[in-house]
């Protein structure tokens, strides 16, 4: 029981997190009304466990999982994991609290039953649990499992309002983008396996050296990470995901899905470092996301859209910082994620609360909400200034670190950083001002305290981080030192001097205010730019691809064969071609032998010719009865062939079977009215069809011919089997070897054969007599 007295922190965190969805779903099955309370309680437990685990030494847990590939179920609660686990459970706690207030309203609004709470919280907490698992996973395969679990959870959460087409489409889009890109992790992991024979990240990091395979593997994993953190050009799914209930969005954007992407970058950072161009690529992609997200966010009218594009842009910073690297790059990226999570979560909650209160979700329909909801306005103001990087907020430091990293990379980078930060200053400012200031445009319903206080709390945390930065700094440092593989000391403090960072911050404020004040001048041209982007952008490409696939599918389907004759032809034809290919591609010399023809063979030859001729004759008669009789001719002449081949047993059975079969056939013919049969026999096939039939039949015949001839051309393999059977026959109390084979040596075959007969009998009885046995 050592695990009870001395629990493994890593395992404990995972179990606590896993318990949350499990207990929630069970509570839903037991008493749906209790779901919310259970969800809050279990999330708090998970958060508590995570705090406890952070407070003590980093710990690992490992147990053999898949022995065949030597895969360990390997968890580590290191600095990086601690940071993201705290985010996932801590922000998760706020989100769940908020959702506890939000969901009853949402359900009422959509007219959904109480049990949907269980569904919602179940998937939300599954999301949390898989995030927690993801950040602790030390094995790439395990990581992949959790990685995809987050995609699964997000699919169901985004599609939560499944009766809305928009929700369904968005869920599918999110799944397609994040799910398909996730295969990159798998392939990347396998490439690393190819190189290092292990999936274990610590073992891989131990022996890293740059090679083409490793670079490709890293690039593939990065693709998955970037798609998940909604970086250009995979960003388009994120704004669409806004259709999810607000708690989902705020979670998705702050501490879960999107954060998972940058987490993965942090996790495999040692591999990224190996190859400089990967870092450069990150900078380019991050910068593109910053610009695209920022510019589009400035033009959006729907709150959640503004916030969604802002997330794209904000995570662009993070990606750029990772790309820039160095102490400030990596450390700053970590710190940025924390700062952003607190503020963005609060802002989303604000947007949701407002929409629930007013029913409006666009800036143009809103305004002056500060009077109706002062507390909410206060909380969200704190969060907003956090993103806008005003001093005395945690956000100030995130920009400072960003600028510090940029400064290390020259003037151009500095200017770009200022421009990007100014964009975010402007769009967040625009959002908050648009919602809360100005004239009152709408009525407000009261909303519960549960939807307001989390916002306020998060806002206060944002400010607190600006005043007492130490705990946040430490978390970020410890996380960064895992990625950077060496201890990192982030110099976070207010410096009252003219260092470049401070100058840049001032530049941001100036530029941001200018952007805010001049909105009416740039608004239209910016919108035009964005709509051009929509036409040529990746979202449109996605849509075009899907449509093209549907069209392709339809047109391919038109060629699909839907006629039994063609189905048969499409088997015989390709089969003939395959056999033909085999004939062509194998040596034919000496393969085909005509075989000796002795005088004694002449009777046999005659009968074979008779059989073949009557076989061909079967195809001629128009009348069915005549056809059946000709068929019998074939059968009887075959029996004669068998007799000549020295097998009286077969000949006897062939004759008998032929007789009874003819009876059955005729019985069937009797059952079908003459008129129909006669009509059938009068029909003449079209000429092209006749031509096709003859061609296919010829191909089939040739196939049979070549297979038969090439096999028969081999001399009969001298076999001890038969001679042994012949010797053993008297021992088996028989004289007719064939019968003894049938009843003894290979009696098992006969038993199978009569079983077939019995099953056929069952089937026939069932078909003809509708199942009655007697």
């Amino acid at each position: 029981m050592s695990w009870l007295t001395d629990p493994n922190p890593a395992l404990a965190v995972l179990i606590a997190a896993m318990l949350a969805p499990l207990l929630t779903v069970l509570a839903g099955a037991w008493r749906p009304a209790s779901v919310r309370a259970v969800a809050v309680g279990t999330t708090a437990l998970a958060f508590g466990t995570a705090i406890w685990a952070t407070a003590i030494e980093p710990s690992t847990f490992s147990i053999m999982w898949i022995e065949t590939w030597n895969v360990q179920f390997e968890l580590a609660f290191d600095g990086l994991a601690a940071m993201y686990a705290l985010l996932a459970t801590g922000i998760g706690l706020f989100v769940v609290l908020y959702a506890a207030g939000y969901m009853p309203l949402h359900r009422e609004h959509k007219g959904r039953p109480l049990i949907d709470d269980a569904r919602f919280f179940g998937f939300l907490l599954l999301f949390m649990a898989s995030m927690v698992g993801l950040v602790m996973a030390q094995d790439l395969l395990l990581l992949f499992v959790f990685w995809d679990l987050t995609a699964v959870a997000s699919f169901f959460l985004i599609g939560f309002d499944r009766d809305e087409e928009d929700a369904r489409d968005s869920a599918l889009m999110a799944l397609l983008v994040t799910g398909i890109s996730a295969i990159g992790v798998l392939i990347g992991a396998l490439l690393l396996w190819q190189e290092y024979r292990t999936f274990s990240l610590p073992l891989i990091f131990e022996q890293t050296e740059t090679s083409v395979t490793v670079t490709w593997a890293t690039a593939l994993i990065l693709v998955a990470a970037l798609a998940k953190s909604a970086q250009f050009p995979f960003h388009f799914w994120l704004p669409r995901a806004m259709v999810a209930p607000t708690p989902v969005s705020s979670y998705l954007h702050s501490a879960a899905m999107v954060a998972a992407g940058v987490f993965l970058i942090g996790r495999i950072y040692p591999l990224i470092e190996l190859e400089p161009w990967l870092g450069d690529a990150l900078v380019v992609i991050g910068a593109a996301s910053m610009v695209v997200g920022g510019v589009v966010a400035l033009t959006r009218d729907v709150f959640k859209q503004v916030l969604a594009y802002s997330t794209i842009s904000q995570y662009g910073y993070v990606v750029v910082m990772f790309g820039l690297g160095g102490t400030y790059g990596v450390g700053g990226a970590m710190f940025y994620v924390i700062a952003h999570a607190l503020a963005k979560c609060a802002l989303f909650m604000t947007a949701g609360a407002l929409t629930e209160a007013t029913g409006k979700q666009t800036l143009s329909e809103s305004g002056g909400a500060v009077r109706a909801m002062p507390l909410l306005a206060f909380g969200s103001l704190l969060a907003a200034v956090g993103i806008m990087a005003l001093p005395l907020t945690i956000g100030f430091f995130k920009d400072e670190l960003f600028f510090a990293a940029a400064t290390e990379h020259g003037r151009a980078m500095q200017f770009f950083a200022v421009f990007g930060a100014a964009l975010s200053f402007a769009y967040i400012g625009r959002l908050w001002i648009g919602i809360f200031l100005g004239s009152v445009k709408q009525e407000h319903r009261p909303i519960g305290a549960l939807m307001t206080w989390p916002v306020v709390a998060l806002g206060i945390l944002t400010v607190l981080g600006g005043v007492w930065v130490q705990p946040f700094r430490e978390i970020a440092e410890r996380a960064a030192s895992v990625s950077y593989a060496q201890a990192i000391d982030l110099d976070i403090a207010y410096h009252f001097d003219a260092r470049p960072e401070n100058v840049m911050v001032l530049g941001v404020y100036g530029l941001g205010v200018v952007l805010l004040l001049t909105e009416r001048w740039w608004r239209n041209s910016m919108r035009a730019l964005v709509s051009i982007g929509e036409v040529i952008g990746p979202a449109h490409l996605y849509l075009l691809t899907l449509r093209a696939l549907v069209r392709l599918s339809d047109s391919v389907h038109d060629f699909e064969v839907r006629d039994l004759r063609s189905r048969i032809a499409s088997i015989l034809g390709p089969a003939g071609v395959l056999v033909g290919l085999a004939v062509i591609f194998t040596p034919t010399e000496g393969t085909f032998v005509v075989g000796p023809l002795q005088r004694s063979d002449i009777p046999l030859l005659t009968v074979i010719i008779a059989t073949a001729v009557s076989g061909v004759m079967v195809t001629f008669p128009r009348d069915h009865l005549r056809m059946v009789l000709t068929l019998s001719c074939v059968g009887y002449s075959l029996a004669v062939v068998y007799a000549f081949l020295g097998s009286p047993d077969v000949a006897l059975v062939a004759v008998l079977i032929e007789t009874i079969f003819a009876l059955v056939l005729i019985a069937i013919l009797v059952l079908m009215p003459r008129s129909i049969l006669r009509y059938e026999s009068r029909l003449r096939p079209a000429r092209w069809r006749l031509g096709r039939d003859v061609t296919v039949a010829t191909i089939a015949g040739l196939m049979a011919f070549f297979v038969a001839w090439s096999a028969l051309s081999r001399p009969s393999a001298s076999t001890t089997v038969i001679s042994r059977q012949i010797e053993l026959t008297p021992l088996a109390h028989g004289y007719d070897i064939v019968t003894v084979i049938l009843a003894d040596f290979r009696g098992f075959d006969t038993m199978g054969e009569i079983t077939v007969v019995a099953i056929a009998f069952l089937g026939i009885i069932s078909l003809i007599r509708a199942g009655r046995l007697r």
Binding site: D169, E534, L572, G646, D649, I668, W709, I726, T729, E753
Partner: protein
């Protein structure tokens, strides 16, 4: 002799294949019988050793008893299956009042069209983000009138 037997197999197989491409269920089944005849003949030829019947007392040379046993088994199995096919053909006939495969294909197409109609969403409208999702709806073909028989 090898060539002759191979040719025999091939002719039977080809004739069977030809009949299987006809639009008449009975012909199709007869084609199947011919093909199974071809297979049986081939199995017998696979033991192509001339000699007396493999029955004690044995002559100098006996034929291969094993292929004979195999042929017997194969004959019986194909007989059982063919009888089953025949009764199935009878039920097909009873339920469609036709032994014409074209009639069956037509019924199948109609069925497919009917499947299409069961409350399907429009696949063209897949995930259109803010652009208009025009999407040309697939026109579902009207089931063709069943032409009168006979």
């Amino acid at each position: 002799m090898i060539l002759a037997l191979s040719l025999g197999v091939a002719v039977l197989f080809g004739a069977g294949a030809y009949l299987m491409l006809k639009h008449d269920l009975i012909r199709l089944i007869i084609g199947m019988v011919l093909i199974s005849n071809a297979a049986n003949l081939f199995i017998m030829s696979a033991g192509l050793t001339n000699g007396a019947a493999p029955i004690y007392p044995l002559g100098d040379e006996t034929t291969d008893p094993l292929v004979q046993a195999m042929t017997l088994t194969a004959i019986v199995i194909s007989f059982a299956v063919t009888a089953l096919v025949l009764s199935l053909a009878y039920r097909v006939y009873v339920s469609h009042l036709s032994v014409d495969i074209r009639e069956l294909s037509r019924a199948e197409e109609m069925q497919a069209d009917r499947d299409d109609e069961v409350g399907q969403p429009d696949p063209e409208k897949l995930g259109a983000p803010y652009t208009d999702a025009e999407g040309d709806r697939r026109t579902v073909a009207q089931p063709p009138n069943k032409e009168a028989q006979r």
